[in-house]
């Protein structure tokens, strides 16, 4: 997805003279051509992430649509106050594209993990949060939102679904309908959730848009006695509040997500998924236990 993000951003830089890119050393190779073509609008600040966001806010103050990019914890957690104040409080638009979702950088250890990103950003009023599950979806969502005048986070992950859906900000896709629980698969969790739900009489929704949250689709599919199971690629229960607020009827909620603990293992993302019960086998077991 990172390669797609750079390609789409480079297109936007060519197409819209009010687009700018602010980097903090990460992925500069992917933006080399963009920088060659537009040196005044592609800035690499070096390894200073708080200033990266501040500089982007400066571009936004001048009417630009800045796109900011680095590794998840250094995009969201280190410069959190700049995201909150420089963009959120000031009412500025900007696009923040991460790389290294959750434990994509599994070998790097907890310093480079980003499982708390969505939970953190949900505390900033007006911050939009998008979780594509495929590079083509990232392209679609980035083009749809880069000039939306709101701070917008695009969570790019290594894990992807086999094919893209026709996603849009603020909209959930109904993948299948069933009589039982409503399972909401978020971003790259879709394929494994569909596989895990095979043989179960459940509805499956696909969410790439955390904020804005498609409350109406969830409420309509969940029905009068809602039982909602979130399958989240980040910390479990990051989205439970959004789902709860969407439903008028008393509801049961469960979350299949990343447990809230610091991992001590390295290895691969797939091994972490297995440890966390987020592979097909683990999700299938949780679903059957919950139903």
């Amino acid at each position: 997805m990172r390669v797609q993000a750079a390609a789409t951003a480079t297109d936007l830089l060519d197409e819209d003279p009010r687009t700018a890119i602010v980097l903090a050393e990460i992925s500069t190779d992917h933006f080399r051509e963009a920088r060659r073509r537009h040196p005044e609008r592609v800035v690499n600040v070096g390894i200073m992430e708080a200033t990266m966001v501040g500089v982007a806010a400066g571009f936004a103050l001048e009417g630009f649509h800045p796109l900011v990019h680095t590794i998840t914890p250094f995009l969201v957690e280190r410069p959190f106050e700049q995201l909150k104040l420089d963009f959120g409080y000031q009412g500025l638009g900007g696009t923040f594209v991460s790389t290294g979702a959750s434990y994509d950088y599994a070998t790097e250890g907890a310093t480079h993990h980003g499982t708390g990103d969505v939970g953190v950003l949900l505390t900033i009023p007006g911050f939009e949060i998008l979780v594509p599950g495929h590079p083509a979806e990232l392209d679609r969502l980035l083009r749809a939102t880069y000039a939306n005048a709101r701070p917008t986070y695009l969570r790019a992950s290594v894990s992807v679904n086999r094919s893209a859906l026709d996603v849009a900000p603020g909209r959930m896709e109904v993948v299948r309908r069933g009589a039982g629980a409503t399972v909401v698969a978020v971003g790259p969790m879709l394929d494994r959730t569909v596989a895990a739900a095979e043989g179960l009489d459940v509805s499956v929704l696909y969410a790439t848009s955390v904020v804005p949250f498609d409350a109406s689709t969830l409420a309509a599919v969940a029905g009068d006695r809602p039982h909602v199971i979130l399958v989240e690629p980040f910390y479990e229960h990051s989205m439970t509040g959004l789902a709860a607020a969407a439903l008028a009827a008393p509801a049961r909620f469960a979350s299949i997500g990343v447990p809230r603990r610091f991992p001590t293992a390295y290895g691969t993302p797939e091994e972490h998924d297995r440890d966390n019960g987020l592979d097909v086998v683990g999700i299938a077991a949780r679903l059957r236990a919950l139903l």
Partner: protein, 235 residues
Amino acid sequence: MVERDSEMAMGGSTLDDVRRLMALATGDEKHDESSTSTLDALWVLHDRVLRLNPTDPTWEGRDRFILSKGHGPVAYYAILAAKGSFPLAWLDGFLEHGSPLGSHPDRNLVPGVEASTGSLGHGLPMAVGVAAAVRAKGLDARVVVLCGDAELNEGTNWEAALLAPHLRLGNLTLLVIENHSSSIEMGPWDAKLRAFGWAARVVDGHDHAQLEEALGATEPDVPTAVVADIPRGEW
């Protein structure tokens, strides 16, 4: 001359007018010295240096000014009012519920305020971005950002201080109000900032001629730093 009860200042106001206006905005005694120590530099900037149009605060050709430290904004508000950015009567409501004038300026509430500040260490990085953006637009506008000496304890300022010369931002001026409020010794300013790549000088923070000359100077491709020294007790 600014009249106390006039709706908007009509130009021709003086520094004495501003001092009278500052007396209208009471209630932030905690930051009194912070405000009075910025007065001369802010006045010189807005009266003699910056290219501004108070009746059109978003005019594209204007110079940009960011009050980074945010604290003690009474002098800033009084100067904006004296120059006609907003009605003088607003000063009476300083800090009151429903007033646009709080203890830290909000760009979405106060005409002429370029950036909302208050949390220290945000203004200089944003000013670097504004200066780069202004250059990308092909404008010849200048960007001036005011930081306090104690504010410059914050590490983000030194990130931005490292970055601005790297980006060759000759349109950027850092104005430091050195009112000796920092618990940590911050000097020597000129050597420190020159080592980072800035054209730096220290001037008497009450001397209008020195301030005007220093704040009016720029160098191609090199950001400028002007340190306005205000000795303890002369706030």
